[in-house]
Symmetry: C2
Subunit: 462 residues, 2 copies
């Protein structure tokens, strides 16, 4: 596989341009205003899989957005790699904070990306990382070095909870049969230090609505005499953490798998500078659960964050109103041991219980997923580590991530196979934020590393 | 003044149509998108004063929206009534809760208004109530019964704090010289029971901004490790009240004028049904400061309400983001004794103090005004009471209101005269809310009652 580097060098402009075309389509799954764009993106992905060398591709209808399935089966007796990715993206707002429009990709250099990075919504999460696999397939097919079978399953609802994917996987276990699942939807420590994500947090995402009076009221005539839904919502949100920033929902921590002191000591060895972390975010201090350090708070500990809040008058100037309703979107990141459906129930019960008389509360679960921990002694992990070691010159470090890919636990349950998370993004890539970008270095390095995973996975499987 | 009833009956269709035309102009002072409409409304008011019989009218430029001044001086030795009102209106949102468009007035009957009510933003607050005075002048001039001099001062920034009015009044004390100020911008108990507002609450309105990380973050990768500005804002808002719903800002209550038990007993005699109150708002319970009843909480006690809150993702679906910033609009209703500028300072200091490390806080004062209590033994009050008694058949009840007309205290200070608050609206008229309306009965009754105030004021002044 000597010529992968030269193949990438030779075709890199085309690789970049193809990704840029894909990034131009605003496939925001959370907002129905973009539904045609989401569908158009699915079709573009389908076409790219055909062109890259899949023998069979299809648009699989689901209750939601379609799943693109593709495969190249070279020998039923050889192992099968199932590649998962998603073609939908996060909403781009707040738009005013983007330095270039989110769906007009441009290449700009940054301190971390001197070779340039593509700035666009979805550049890293996950169009760029998903497309690395398409281009890696192209290389293997064109050069006749694909060592095993490959299947692709690219969905369009990852950013809104993958409900249709779960539906699809449950109904297509035979079609999706595989020996290992490969996903690039996570990050690595730095461009000099690759890492493999071995743990993901689960997620429970809910929306809450607090209703007070049956109409908006004048705050002078009614202020002080009725429960103000915004004040009450603030009070209820505040009550979800105690003074040590522990979450107060009864039973919330009951099933949390605590790490041993040895495991925590091992984690503490990963390179990390609190000063740099604070500086990068312009924070005068970090903030979180007492008894844990930053890298534990964002990976091995469950959390509760308000992702959005709104109510009352939010326009220019002043309006003296008591709103009839106030709303919040709240998500909890969960760790192995916690069941997201149980946690959603505990939240709902608790949040309803703490509402004072004078308001009514409605909790609507959005979606969720289980946490996940992968062993580092599997063939898949070893193959990934060898691939990284070859292209980066140093072995990958196993890392527990704070993010969630809710379907990884589902894959294990339904398809009985392990997932390897080969991420090529960086924390600084601003995924889910304005000015999301993906380094040209990272994109090309991914395309270069992935075929080596196939090679070593087949070798180690023998 | 026997013929006022017949004059109103004869001209009522025109009176209603003229008001409807005025209500069609969306004079929202809080939103600069409407600035031309605000100016157009000012001109319409000016024209209406000319037509009604003012000898002199002018558009007075200010640092903000113009003030319309008009006068009819019949004899410098006679008393002068200064009528104040405002031609600007509250923002109409949330638009989806209006049953007819806010700036397309329609007449509908309601349980309380069997004769019909005009539904439109500003119908009651304050275009309808202000325009009663214009039509009352028309009657008095047309029938040659104006018993004294009259001046009009109609402003366009009442809903955003009357900053330009204060500027104007300070500079025009001679021009505005008067013996009594007459305002219809409050309510009365019911269409069977008139009342005169003898107290108003003051106001301090601020906007707060809580900033955490310098950009929106992925809640999986950063959740639990940094202060989430929305959670922190909720916590800070929650901390502004204690468990008895007292406000926790140090010094907040220091200058509050407490009412005696006798005064509170007197207040308790006003007709009030808690059951009807709760039913009208569809509340299972009221909520407020411990130790006080509903009609005290909304009139003689200071309050703190969040009027708007926003931050993070508020669109459809889910976004797992930690917002960089969260915002709220907060207003405090103040009572006599409290100085709004001092309270604004106390709030700012306290709110900044309670911010934890990991966030920064900015407090921007919007506007404010002092509370006010008027004596019931003045000539103005007696004249108003006699007028109400004549048209309603029962005397008016003095009532302390929870609302604020910030400039009433200013008038007393700068113009050395008392204000009489002859309100003809009802609490159920939904001012500042969707479906604001003003009863045809109330509008015409106002036009009928106002000339009697002039008559008795001049008689009692002799």
């Amino acid at each position: 596989m000597e010529n992968i580097k030269s193949y990438v060098q030779q075709h890199k402009d085309r690789f970049i341009n193809e990704l840029i075309e894909l990034l131009k389509i605003p496939s925001v799954s959370a907002d129905t205003a973009y539904s045609q764009d989401v569908i158009d993106t699915a079709e573009a992905v389908k076409e790219s899989l055909s062109k890259a060398g899949c023998d069979f591709v299809e648009t699989c209808d689901t209750p939601g957005y379609p799943i693109i399935y593709g495969e190249k089966i070279i020998d039923p007796n050889l192992p099968t790699v199932l590649v998962y990715g998603h073609y939908d993206v996060q909403p781009p707002d707040p738009l005013e904070l983007w330095t270039s429009p989110p769906f007009e990709p441009v290449i700009k250099t940054t301190e971390i990306h001197p070779e340039g990075a593509i700035f666009a919504r979805g550049a890293c999460d996950d169009k760029g990382q998903m497309y690395m696999h398409v281009k890696a397939l192209e290389y293997m097919v064109q050069n006749n070095v694909l060592p095993c079978n490959v299947k692709f399953m690219i969905e369009g609802e990852e950013e809104v909870g993958s409900a249709s994917l779960a539906w699809f996987v449950e109904r297509n276990q035979e079609k999706l049969k595989n020996d290992v699942i490969l996903i690039s939807d996570t990050g690595m420590i730095s461009n000099q230090q690759p890492s493999i994500t071995t743990g993901l947090r689960g997620l429970s995402y809910v929306e809450v609505e607090v209703t007070g009076p049956n109409r908006d009221l004048h705050s002078g005539l009614y202020g002080g005499a009725v429960a103000n839904p915004i004040n009450i919502l603030a009070k209820m949100i505040a009550a979800l953490h105690d003074e040590d920033n522990h979450i107060t929902i009864p039973g919330f921590y009951d099933k949390v798998q605590e790490l041993s002191l040895e495991e925590r000591a091992e984690m503490a060895k990963a390179p990390f500078s609190l000063e740099k972390y604070k500086k990068a975010l312009n924070l005068n201090d970090v903030y979180g659960e007492k008894g844990y350090v930053t890298n534990e708070r964002n990976s091995i500990r469950p959390t509760l964050d308000v992702n959005g809040i709104w109510g009352g008058y939010t326009g220019e100037g002043a309006k003296t109103v008591i709103a009839s309703k106030a709303f919040a979107k709240i998500s909890m990141r969960l760790v192995p041991g916690q069941d997201w459906e149980e946690i959603t129930e505990l939240f709902t019960k608790h949040f309803t219980n703490i509402a004072p008389a004078g308001v009514t509360v409605k909790v609507t679960p959005h979606h969720g997923g289980q946490g996940y921990v992968t062993p580092i002694d599997s063939i898949g992990y070893q193959a990934a580590n060898k691939a990284y070691t070859e292209t980066f010159g140093v072995p990958a470090i196993p890392v527990r991530s704070g993010g969630s890919i809710p379907i990884v636990a589902l894959f294990e349950k339904e398809l009985k196979s392990k997932t390897i998370l080969m991420g090529f993004g960086l924390d600084s890539d601003a995924i889910h934020s304005p000015n999301e970008h993906f380094g040209i270095f990272n994109y090309l390095k991914g395309i270069e590393t992935i075929p080596l995973f196939y090679k070593y996975f087949v070798e180690l499987s023998k």
